[in-house]
């Protein structure tokens, strides 16, 4: 493989490419989905191929193939070069791609137990047991349990001399119970909605989740939601649990701080950002309580890796400090616009996609409260948990979220359960209304394995560590029945 890679990089130099890199990626995946006592999916997937990125005459070309042999590699390089040459005719300004020190390195996710080494039988046993517990509740009409195990081995090499081999191991699991009655559908999940929680850890992560211990509660809460009162419609104080807050961070901070979006290159699909380059360093994004970091080196985060797909080492970067936006997510091509160097966020969804600026682990740093203190300090409000729906406009300014469950807060105590909770807001107003964040022992890492961006579409695995937080004067109860 090394010879194959070196050969094409030599060819790139011979053809006078300004820069070229190649990524050879092999992904193995095993997923199991149990529903209503049946194993609906037991799948194994292997995906292998390479992609070559060429910078030529100030423009990019990229081509890729699943046939990994010398002839195909050379043919694909030729195609990438041809594409770059064609694109240079309508390129606007030349791509500026400052050189970087070459890295020769290896990285492997530290794990105790390889999740792909655990037999499917053992995994099925766990999931079927959880499913059985949930189905004991007769109001539960759909019980689901999911487990996924992933291994990505990738080699990155560039004409600058970088040669980086990485092996990223991930896994995750989750359960959900859907209660249905009289046209009402209510769902509860654990540890998170949309298949569970995911981490760059080994099978020990699945064991830590203890999904069996939560199956009965999840079913009971789904049933209780059938009879719960609707979320009131009013402006009130909102406390979000850490899982919902993770998605709030994702949508209203993580995406707006991607510099490619800020510069408009995602306009045709995912949209742009309300942030402008000149706002970096002075814009008050949130209250003084709000501190956000992008930390690609945080152990266990789903956005944790050794090097990004441009050969830049994973790093921890302060993004919002005491409410002020001080940095954004950058790449080698874009960072210089802010007078900075890349902070290593370029990642591709496999061999057949180009790297884009992606979130790493975008974390809301912990505060000083306990959740109990926060509730006790709230006269009137709502405590909402576990995402059910999300939506935000193309500049990431107007958002609306729904959660699976909520509870009223009255006179410093949790009150009645409410169903179909929703809330809406304007990004900077919302973050400026944050007046309390729970402390580190409430701080939890959430893996988001379904972050979509780019054309052709790419799905990134990213993480968010958050602790519950409180927001004032939020509009809740937007549901139109």
């Amino acid at each position: 493989m090394k010879h194959l890679i070196q050969n094409v990089l030599d060819l790139a130099k011979l053809k006078k490419a300004d820069y070229a890199d190649i990524r050879v990626v092999r992904r193995q995946m095993e997923e199991i989905e149990v529903k209503n006592g049946n194993v609906e999916a037991l799948t194994s997937d292997e995906d292998f191929g390479f992609g070559i990125r060429v910078l030529f005459q100030g423009a990019w070309g990229f081509a890729c193939s699943s046939k990994v042999n010398r002839q195909e590699v050379e043919s694909v390089f030729g195609k990438a070069l041809k594409i770059a040459r064609g694109s240079s005719k309508v390129k606007g300004q030349d791509v500026s791609f400052p050189p970087t020190s070459p890295a020769v390195a290896t990285y492997k996710t530290p794990i105790s137990i390889n999740p792909l080494s655990i037999s499917p039988e053992d995994k099925l046993k766990l999931l079927l047991k959880a499913d059985e517990i949930m189905r004991k509740n007769k109001k539960v009409k759909i019980s689901e349990a999911f487990m996924g195990s992933y291994n990505t081995a990738k080699t990155f090499a560039s004409t600058e001399g970088s040669y980086i081999e990485q092996e990223i191991i991930e896994c995750g699991a989750g359960i959900s119970a859907t209660a249905i009655e009289r046209g009402e559908v209510q769902v509860r999940s654990y540890p998170n909605s949309f298949r569970g929680n995911f981490s760059t850890k080994g099978y020990e992560w699945i064991e830590e989740l203890k999904i069996l211990a939560h199956a009965q509660r999840v079913a009971e809460e789904a049933e209780q939601l059938l009879w719960a009162k609707p979320c009131p419609s009013k402006i009130t104080t909102l406390i979000l649990d850490s899982s919902q807050l993770a998605l709030q961070v994702h949508e209203s901070i993580g995406h707006p701080i991607e510099l490619d979006r800020i510069l408009g290159t995602e306009a045709s699909y995912a949209g742009t950002s309300f942030i402008k380059p000149q706002m970096v360093g002075n814009f008050r994004y949130g209250s003084e309580k709000v501190n956000i970091t992008a930390d690609a080196a945080l152990p266990g985060g789903l956005g944790t890796f050794g090097y990004d797909d441009e050969g830049i080492r994973a790093q921890r970067v302060p993004i919002i400090s005491q409410g002020i936006l001080i940095n954004v997510l950058t790449s080698r091509e874009t960072a210089h616009i802010l007078g900075k160097e890349s902070n290593g966020t370029m990642r591709a969804d496999g061999w057949n996609r180009i790297p884009l600026i992606r979130m790493t682990n975008i974390n809301l740093e912990p505060g000083e409260w306990t959740l109990e203190q926060m509730i006790a300090d709230t006269d009137d409000g709502l405590f909402l948990s576990t995402n059910r729906s999300w939506s935000i406009d193309d500049r990431r300014i107007n958002f609306q979220f729904g959660t699976e469950i909520g509870w009223e807060i009255k006179n410093g105590k949790l009150g009645e359960m409410v169903k179909n909770p929703t809330y809406t807001g304007i990004t900077p107003q919302f973050w400026n209304s944050c007046d309390a964040i729970a402390k580190r022992d409430h701080w939890q890492m959430w893996g988001t394995p379904n972050c979509g961006k780019g054309e052709p579409g790419q799905v990134a695995h990213v993480g968010h560590a958050t602790a519950p937080a409180r927001f004032r004067n939020v509009q809740v109860g937007i549901m139109k029945s």
Partner: protein
């Protein structure tokens, strides 16, 4: 590309070598390219060649699915062994009956050889021409232009043997002017049908040089363009038009068959064979496509089936199987809404005070049984007063039941447009939704963008 004979031969060999009771082998190949531009300059141009084999093995009632894109003989043998091992480890699914038996597949031409003429240089020339037209009007543009050739072959041990080659291209264009933008898109299987000038004119119609005004949230009369109508239909298809959702009791159609659910002007159906759309002769199980009418003149009528859900209801598959393992259900992918009697201009003239919506952005489900969704408007939202489009408005958030909106449809355009989301995650298989513009008397906007 692997071609019919070689593809079928490869799949037959896999099926023959399998020791399972039933075996299904699917081959999906792709040779595609996508070019993106922003600020009127190309910033991304990518090409991909890939081929994926999907094996579904059945041992008794135990089922496994294994996928690989490594098509070397040694890898294929290993893939088969892996599938056998996984099937043995499986639990029986008592609801499973059988893979489908062969049925006659209608011959359809879904491939244009001219797709090969879209070389990188040719595509760049087309984009350059589009951008020049945009520049002539003093605007800039963002967008993407993609084309591809896809082959789908399905063979199973019961005698199913199906192959189809598809070409496709889509072009979506956002013309920008300050805070305003306008959108137009095109999707087809035939490259000659792309008319860059018409696309530019359509997008530019939505671009105003006026500052957008803010309108208060509330219920308005709306004119919804086909791009947005198509999105509404896709949500209905995902949430409720298919058998799995009904069988699980989570579809809005549960208990409603034969009942009037939406306005009698509304007929919505799925038809992979209708030449007005992007035709697809058979599904991912090799079952020929049938027309399925969900709402016929307002009445709830039929749902789509794959072989698994059909067996559970004692029915025949309607040809809506998706790539296995499909746990989402036989979601329809060739949706149509019947056109009406009006022109778009007549519809606008009939609005006293309302909102004109070009497209939606980032829509998501709020309450599935009522088909309540939320999302934002984007790329061309206007205030209509006294029958005229007056001013651009800041983007609005809507939170509305699609079913309620369809109850309040008072006009439907004669003309329909083939719309496609225009992006591809994972495996490429481009289809389209053929839809008119609609007028809805009462559509709930729940918020407004502050920008």
């Amino acid at each position: 590309m692997i071609a019919r004979e070689a593809g079928i031969k490869l799949l037959k060999r896999m099926v023959q070598e399998s020791t399972a009771d039933q075996t299904e082998a699917i081959l999906l190949t792709e040779d595609s390219s996508l070019t993106r531009f922003a600020h009127s300059a190309i910033h991304q141009h990518v090409a991909e060649r890939n081929g994926t084999l999907i094996l579904r093995l059945v041992m008794g009632k135990k089922i496994s699915v294994v996928t690989t894109n490594n098509l070397r003989p040694s890898s294929l043998r290993a893939t088969l062994q892996k599938a056998i091992a996984l099937a043995k480890a499986q639990q029986p699914n008592e609801a499973f009956t059988s893979l489908p038996k062969p049925k006659l597949i209608p011959p359809l031409d879904t491939f244009s050889a001219n797709i090969a003429r879209l070389t990188p240089a040719k595509k760049v020339r087309i984009i350059k021409e589009v951008l020049a037209l945009v520049k002539d009007k003093g605007h800039t543009a963002s967008g993407a232009f993609s084309h591809g050739v896809v082959e789908l072959a399905v063979v199973n041990s019961l005698g199913v043997e199906a192959y189809q080659k598809y070409s496709d291209l889509f072009f979506h264009l956002i013309v920008e002017e300050g805070q305003n933008s306008g959108y137009a898109s095109f999707v087809s299987r035939v490259p000659e049908q792309l008319d860059g000038k018409a696309l530019v004119e359509s997008a530019i119609k939505k671009v105003s040089r006026e500052e957008p005004i803010q309108v208060e949230p509330g219920e308005y009369e709306v004119i919804i363009e086909p791009y947005a109508v198509g999105e509404l239909l896709l949500f209905l298809g995902y949430l409720g038009f298919h058998a799995l959702a009904v069988q699980e009791g989570r579809s809005f159609l549960c208990g409603q068959f034969g009942q009037k659910m939406v306005n009698e002007k509304v007929t919505i159906y799925d038809d992979g064979l209708d030449p007005a759309g992007l035709q697809v002769p058979f599904d991912f199980e090799g079952v020929p496509k049938q027309k399925v009418t969900f709402f016929g003149e307002g009445l709830a009528k039929e749902i789509t089936y794959d072989s698994y859900t059909a067996a559970r209801d004692g029915k025949e598959s309607t040809g809506h199987g998706l790539i296995p393992p499909n746990t989402e259900g036989p979601i329809p992918i060739n949706l149509f809404m019947k056109g009406g009697e009006s022109s778009l201009e007549e519809m606008v003239r009939s609005v006293r005070k309302g909102i004109y919506v070009t497209r939606f952005h980032y829509t998501n489900v709020v309450e599935p049984m009522k088909a309540v969704i939320t999302g934002m408007t984007r790329d061309g939202t206007f205030l209509i007063e006294e029958g005229e489009i007056k001013k651009p408005v800041k983007n609005l958030r809507f939170t509305e039941s699609i079913l309620k909106a369809l109850c309040r449809v008072t006009a439907i355009s004669k003309d329909r447009k083939t719309c496609s989301p225009g992006t591809v995650y994972a495996r490429r298989f481009v289809t389209g939704t053929v839809v008119p513009a609609i007028k809805v008397d009462g559509f709930n906007f729940s918020g407004v963008s502050s920008l």
